[in-house]
């Protein structure tokens, strides 16, 4: 038997990124801006959405949510009172479930998502600070929620995640008065790993700062469209007509 060395030089996540590209094309065709919302378990993603999405349709932004969870529909049930499209996506494949969503899982759920009836799709990822940062799903924007009960050093321990996001929402600031927590140090650590990140301090419980997050979300589709138009011009200026793939590896810039 003869042994041959085969040069491969391929990103091992190419297969995922290819499907993410297909998702991105579907989203673009339907004119839907997609947000990948990530955090550690219990940081308050669902509570933030409950608070922030209320009455959004009346203010002109039709939002749908794709709820990723290992098991169950607790989060989707909580959001059902908002009367917006919520689709549950469980990652349990019989072996205990995945710790993140990947492009293929999102693709499998797309037929259930009414893309024609929404402007923004928020994909609430599985609570986890490692894996979700690595698997693109075809999103336009990656944001994360971290809370003041988690420790100021988290950006330094999970730089992969903090660098992947263009917006970091610091949640549960209503608890600061009870905690020995230095929120300025947390913000400095976020900036140390991701200088370009936008940082907001909110309390999804009391509503403090939530209006700023709502405003950010409302402005997102127009900003993404402007960036895409800019990229498009840029591509043409360089004679490169390749489709701009959002499933790239560059850290997001605000």
């Amino acid at each position: 038997m003869h042994r041959t060395k085969v040069r491969v030089v391929e990103d091992a996540l190419d297969a995922n990124n290819t499907i993410a590209g297909a998702n991105a094309s579907d989203f673009e065709r339907a004119d839907v801006t997609v947000v990948n919302l990530m955090s550690a378990p219990g940081a308050g993603k669902t509570t933030l959405l409950e608070r922030a999405l209320e009455g959004m349709a009346e203010e002109g932004l039709r939002v749908g949510v794709l709820e990723g969870d290992v098991q169950g529909s607790f989060d989707a049930d909580r959001l059902s009172v908002l009367h917006i499209p919520v689709v549950q996506l469980n990652t349990d494949n019989g072996f205990g479930g995945e710790c993140h969503l990947d492009a293929n899982m999102v693709r499998s759920a797309l037929p259930a998502v009414p893309l024609d009836d929404i402007d923004v799709l928020i994909v609430e990822n599985v609570g986890n600070l490692v894996c979700p940062a690595e698997f693109r799903i075809g999103e336009d924007s990656r944001i994360m929620v971290c809370s003041v009960t988690e420790g100021e050093d988290k950006p330094l321990k999970y730089p992969l995640m903090f660098r992947a996001c263009e917006l970091v929402v610091i949640n549960k600031v209503d608890l600061l008065q009870h905690l020995d927590f230095d929120v300025d140090r947390l913000e400095a650590n976020i900036k140390q790993v991701n200088h370009h990140a936008t940082v907001m301090r909110v309390s999804a419980k009391t509503g403090e700062g939530v209006e700023e997050f709502r405003a950010w979300l409302k402005a997102l589709p127009a900003r993404i469209a402007a960036e895409e138009a800019h990229d498009h011009d840029h591509d043409h200026a360089h004679g490169d007509h390749a489709h701009h793939d959002h499933a790239d590896h560059e850290p997001a810039t605000a």
Binding site: M1, K5, R7, V8, F135, Y158, L160, N194, H195
Partner: protein
Amino acid sequence: MHEFDLSSAIVQTVNKHAAGRRVTHITLRVGRLRQVVKDTLLFYLAIVGKDTPCEGATLEIIDVPAVLRCNTCKSEWEIEIPAFICGTCGPGAVEVATGEEFMVESIEVEDEEEAACTAPR
């Protein structure tokens, strides 16, 4: 904890390029910023690769250091801690030069014939 899925991604990529041939060796290029735990990756690769052409293949990981570049002063430096800041110019124009790689660099396969195809695509 992400090593299981990364192993699956590696096995998928390797088997595609192996095109049915048995794989004896896999060389990966992994950047330090990927936060991959080598021993865990090896452990999972053995599990995920079972009953595939990868079964029994040895694994070599080429570590790629985390190197940053400042586009203002054009300097490059290696980091040991996650601080994405230029000592001279601040954080504004800092980008990652190397350290984000997660590549299958090459594989070694068993061929029936001497004249092997080394260009899979």
